[in-house]
């Protein structure tokens, strides 16, 4: 097993306020890795630091054997680090098609637009029917599908998805989770997910990290964590 992403002793925050202390994690190639933790733990911040939207104060981010810590985000995207952000970040006044094209903005992805579109429509057939609709008028579930599809258009080598199930009805959330798993199973894509719904996350993930107030508190195979009494108590809520 080789790690495609390795976060080494990462410290970062906003302004002068630290949010992450000494976060280390590995993402194995072809795996689904989950990062879980309560609200405000720093999950989104971790993903933003990995893609380079915010700088690392200390520590290193190594991707496919290369230190990318100092690279601007557009260079990291070019290398295949792609984040589907919390809140989806679709471009509301653009059509679905234009959003997908924006996904393929990086030079590597631009060469393969037709193939990427076919691939994305195969996974999300609903998007094909709505190509010319303004993205802002899509339903919440459709917007989430578009956000993931747009991420795939970038030809990621690591796809990070922040809160795919947020704000969706349970049935739809489950459907999206299964699609994420399908993408990994069919294409061997490496995926790092952040999820509020720990149950969903541990269900599809191979390995998971638990973040608490900016520190990694626990890690292990998802199946083991799902049976861990502390996790069950804190996140899986036995009533």
């Amino acid at each position: 097993m080789t790690a495609i992403l390795s976060v080494e002793r990462l410290h970062t925050g906003y302004g002068k306020i630290p949010v992450l202390w000494d976060v280390s994690m590995q993402v194995e190639k072809g795996s689904i890795t989950a990062l879980i933790g309560s609200n405000g733990a720093g999950k989104t911040t971790t993903l933003r630091a990995i893609v380079g939207i915010i700088p690392a104060w200390k520590g290193r981010i190594v991707f496919a054997g290369e230190d990318v810590t100092k690279l601007p985000s557009y260079r990291r995207v070019e290398k295949g680090i792609v984040l589907v952000p919390e809140g989806r970040g679709i471009f509301p006044q653009m059509t679905v098609y234009e959003n997908l094209l924006m996904g393929a903005y990086n030079q590597r992805a631009r060469q393969k637009i037709q193939e990427s579109l076919e691939r994305v429509f195969n996974i999300f057939p609903r998007l094909r029917e709505r190509l010319n609709q303004k993205a802002g008028t899509l339903s919440g579930g459709e917007q989430q599908m578009l956000a993931i599809a747009r991420g795939l258009m970038a030809l990621p080598r690591l796809l990070m998805i922040d809160e795919a199930s947020l704000g969706l009805a349970p049935k739809l959330a489950l459907e999206i989770m299964n699609l994420v798993k399908r993408i990994r199973d069919e294409e061997g894509l490496t995926i790092l997910i952040v999820e509020q719904n720990v149950h969903y996350a541990l269900n599809i993930a191979d390995y998971a990290y638990v973040l608490e107030t900016g520190r990694i508190r626990m890690e292990g195979p998802a199946k083991e964590l799902a049976e861990n009494p502390e996790i069950i108590k804190a996140y899986l809520g036995v009533h």
Binding site: Y74, V77, P85, G89, F91, P92, Y105
Partner: protein
């Protein structure tokens, strides 16, 4: 003039055509203000000074250094673009995302520097470019051929800008940055580069319009402020960031100004612009056309 205050129809036709011609240059100048405003959310208060700068650059090259007219126009535009790039990093980049007042003050200050330098070097005397051009008459209103060429160039640039924004990778990236800067960065867009190029492009449009206007009209360092007022009016008329809106808004203002100068006097132009501005702000503050 028409007997007893009556104005002949052909004179009005001439004024109308002359208004379209000069109005497309106003539109191009306004486009420079409009895209910077619409995309960077910066009201560029050095806009008029940059227009004046381009007029004097063309003057410096042709009159003082004997560079052929076409070459000096092209050189002026090149310099205009470079000034835009440098000004972005010096006066705009660090105030982006800050309070609105910061960018107003910093671009205003930049404008004052330009105007100060122009006053120092050229004084306040009106200058003209040595332009030889044939004249055609439309309904007794003389229009220089070179103005017509300038108008066609300006209209072509505005249409080109529309195509650029709505049909190219660059334009899609620009619109993405407007809608959601962080999401655009996540798509691999180099946001700073897009903002810098947009600013430089805005300055290029303003300086192109200035240079073309200088072919037909005399100018002083103060001239830029008139075109700045016109540009604000047109942005309000045509909507923010919309190139075709700017072009059409410019033509509306040009026609209004020229017709006024036929029935009254040429010096009424700024007043007409101001009236149009106020009327628009009252009846439709979002402009006649959709924004970007």
């Amino acid at each position: 003039m028409g007997v007893g205050g009556l104005v002949s129809g052909s004179l009005l036709l001439g004024g109308f055509v002359a208004g379209l011609v000069v109005g497309s240059l106003y539109g191009l100048a306004a486009l420079g203000l409009s895209i910077i405003w619409g995309i960077l959310r910066v009201v560029n208060l050095s806009h008029g000074a940059l227009i004046a700068m381009s007029m004097y650059l063309a003057y410096l090259l042709t009159v003082m250094h004997g560079v052929p007219l076409l070459a000096s126009i092209l050189l002026t535009l090149f310099i205009g673009f470079v000034v835009g790039v440098v000004a972005y990093y010096l006066f705009v980049h660090r105030v982006l995302g800050g309070p609105e007042l910061a960018s107003l003050l910093s671009t205003f200050g930049f404008g004052l520097i330009i105007l100060g330098l122009l006053e120092l070097k050229f004084g306040g005397i009106a200058r003209t470019l040595p332009v030889e051009s044939s004249v055609i008459e439309v309904g007794h209103v003389p229009i220089m051929t070179i103005q017509i060429i300038g108008a066609i160039v300006a209209a072509a640039i505005a249409i080109g800008a529309y195509v650029l924004i709505y049909r190219t990778w660059f334009g899609r990236a620009v619109r993405a940055v407007v809608m959601n800067q962080e999401a655009a960065a996540l798509m691999g867009v180099n946001v700073t580069k897009i903002l810098m190029l947009t600013f430089a492009l805005g300055v290029l449009f303003a300086t192109t319009a200035g240079t073309l206007l200088a072919l037909a009209y005399s100018f002083t360092p103060e001239t830029g402020s008139k075109y700045e007022l016109y540009s604000f009016t047109i942005v309000v008329l045509g909507g923010l960031g919309n190139p075709l809106g700017s072009l059409i808004g410019g033509m509306i203002l040009g026609v209004a100004e020229q017709l006024t100068s036929i029935v009254a006097s040429g010096s009424w132009g700024p007043l007409v612009a101001f009236l149009l501005l106020i009327i628009m702000l009252v009846i439709k503050p979002t402009g006649l056309f959709a924004k970007l």
